[in-house]
């Protein structure tokens, strides 16, 4: 017993000493550290490793599950992150709240490689605070086994034969935006009458809807529980890889485009290193490796000729410029957001 006790005391003393040492030397010597706060699986691991070696730095990569979580952490202050990835609308919010650092373009010469569409997104025209990193368009994914005629319009979702087979995203702005576009309005309308009309239209779609589900939309399409639905282009590519019966189309009326960006939170300690990392990501060779690994659309025009044939020919990733031209960003609707939410609640509770 005595032995056991002295062993325990010894072990505890050792661990305490280690704790103290670990706490004080957490900066890992003199190596510079880049702290990234992002979505899970948003970078190819070998790309991060390459950056670490090339610049002799250490990259810490932490993950969040929603924009709002990330906002809460940054707002609380003292978060210690150098690079974050807010989505389009969140960039606008964070600029307004003064939570983003202005980017020093001199450190990001590769910015010239970006596709011109993304030089002037409405949430941050001129890329003052943010640069588009991953992006996609919400279109229609459908299973060719059940949907015989390829859809061309959003109104195809309303067909009677798809009763209980249509899946929609679980997001008020996306779904109401879709109905608004179908009726020829802007997806970010602030006109109450237009919104009312879109809502009434959506109510007639409800009998067809099997679920409002963003997290499991891929599973439901792959398992063929859902035949047709509103799906992000990147997710469509993922579904297609698992179930080749699924195809994807951007309807003729247009669609909603979204993006996750690269941005630097106010007060970041390693701003310059973060800018170097952004620049690194936009090196054509690096971005080819990166985007083919994560399976999203590359906003880097200089990289296009270097992509593999398989990636280039995938129309869910390499979207048609004409489709991109028809797509519309969601922009802040101010106080009308409450109306969107009210209609949304009514729509979902009316099921």
């Amino acid at each position: 017993m005595k032995r056991l006790k002295s062993m325990l005391t010894g072990a505890m003393a050792a661990v305490l000493a280690l704790t103290a040492a670990g706490c004080s030397s957490s900066s890992e010597g003199e190596k510079q550290v880049l702290n990234i706060y992002s979505w899970a699986d948003n970078f190819a691991p070998e790309v991060i490793e390459q950056f670490e070696q090339q610049y002799n730095v250490k990259v810490n990569y932490d993950v969040y599950g929603s924009n709002e979580e990330m906002l809460a952490k940054i707002q609380a202050g003292a978060s210690g992150y150098d690079l974050i990835q807010p989505s389009d609308y969140m960039v606008a919010t964070m600029i307004e709240l003064g939570l983003l650092e202005e980017l020093n373009k001199e450190n990001i010469p590769n910015l010239k490689n970006i596709v011109s569409t993304f030089e002037t997104p409405p949430f941050d025209p001129g890329n003052k605070y943010s640069i588009v990193y991953t992006w996609g368009i919400t279109g229609i994914a459908y299973n060719k086994n059940y949907v015989k005629e390829p859809p061309t319009s959003w109104s195809d979702l309303w067909k009677d034969e798809y009763k209980d087979r249509v899946i929609l995203l679980n997001d008020p702005r996306e779904v109401l935006g879709m109905a608004l576009i179908k009726n020829g309005y802007s997806n970010s309308t602030t006109n109450p009458e237009e919104l009312e009309k879109a809502f009434q239209d959506l109510k007639t779609l409800v009998p067809n809807v099997i679920a409002f589900d963003t997290d499991n939309i891929k599973q439901k399409m792959i398992a063929e529980e859902a035949w047709i639905g509103t799906v992000w282009s990147g997710d469509a590519a993922y579904i297609y890889a698992e179930n080749q019966n699924v195809d994807y189309v951007i309807p003729k009326e247009g669609a909603t485009i979204w993006a996750d960006t690269l941005a630097i939170p106010k007060g970041a300690k390693n701003k310059e290193l973060a800018e170097k990392f952004i620049n690194f990501l936009f090196e054509p060779e690096v971005s080819v490796k990166n985007y083919e690994a994560i399976g999203y659309s590359n906003p880097n025009e200089a990289a296009y000729p270097l992509h593999s044939e398989e990636y280039r020919s995938n129309k869910m990733i390499f979207l048609d410029p004409a489709d991109i031209a028809r797509a519309e960003w969601l922009v802040d609707v101010g106080d009308m957001l409450q109306e969107y939410d009210r209609y949304w609640t009514e729509l979902k509770s009316g099921r």
Binding site: K2, M12, G22, P45, D62, G65, I222, E225
Partner: protein, 262 residues
Amino acid sequence: MKDWRKKSLSSFSWLMLVFLYLPIAILILYSFNEARINAVWSGFTFKWYVNLFGNRQVQEALFNSLWVALCSSVLATVLGTAASLAMKHYSLRWQNIINGLIYLPIVIPDIMMGLSLLILFSMAQFELGKTTLILAHTTFSIPFVMVIISARLADMGKELEEAAQDLGATAWNTIRYVTLPLITPGIVAAFLMAFTLSLDDFIISFFVAGPNSTTLPLYIYGMVKRGVSPEVNALSALMIACTVILVIVAEFLQRKDSKTVI
């Protein structure tokens, strides 16, 4: 009649067990599924487990989890044991109130605890990271440690310590040669309990984690938002296995302990 009653009771217990463990069993089962998506079963494989161990982010999260659990449970055990000894040997002025206040954190909603710690750290300009995680985990583990150690101390009674002092032992020697050896199994059980709690915690960690301190539960949560992959299942299955083993060891030590003393 009696037979019927017994049968229905036992089938009811089985139903309860199924209700409790079926979701976990399915989760573990699908971690061996060949397909990348949970929707369909398409064959048995270990590849998700192999993938996990090749993934640097998982390795880092695992290291963070273990490190935070180790540091916080050691701190909590030392502090909690000392506090329990003090509470036993001195009667303080508002003993009952103090007792209540010490155990209160067990029932305070985690979300309140996480939020209050986050506010505290950011007011004190304390940078979020592993240190804040360790402090937070130590905080919520101490009451659990104290519950276990106090129960052990109460079981032990005062007689042995008094006898030692009668025979001329100093206060320190009494603690060292009588009290501590007697409660050692309780200390180990408390340590394992604190370790498990720290390993499993999500909500409080969610608030106080910072750069380079993503723990396994936080990482799993981030992965789920990108769609539940069999890797998530595999990781969860491993965490469940670790937890179960730790709990069994802690329980075993506590049992053995009460048998030898009484």
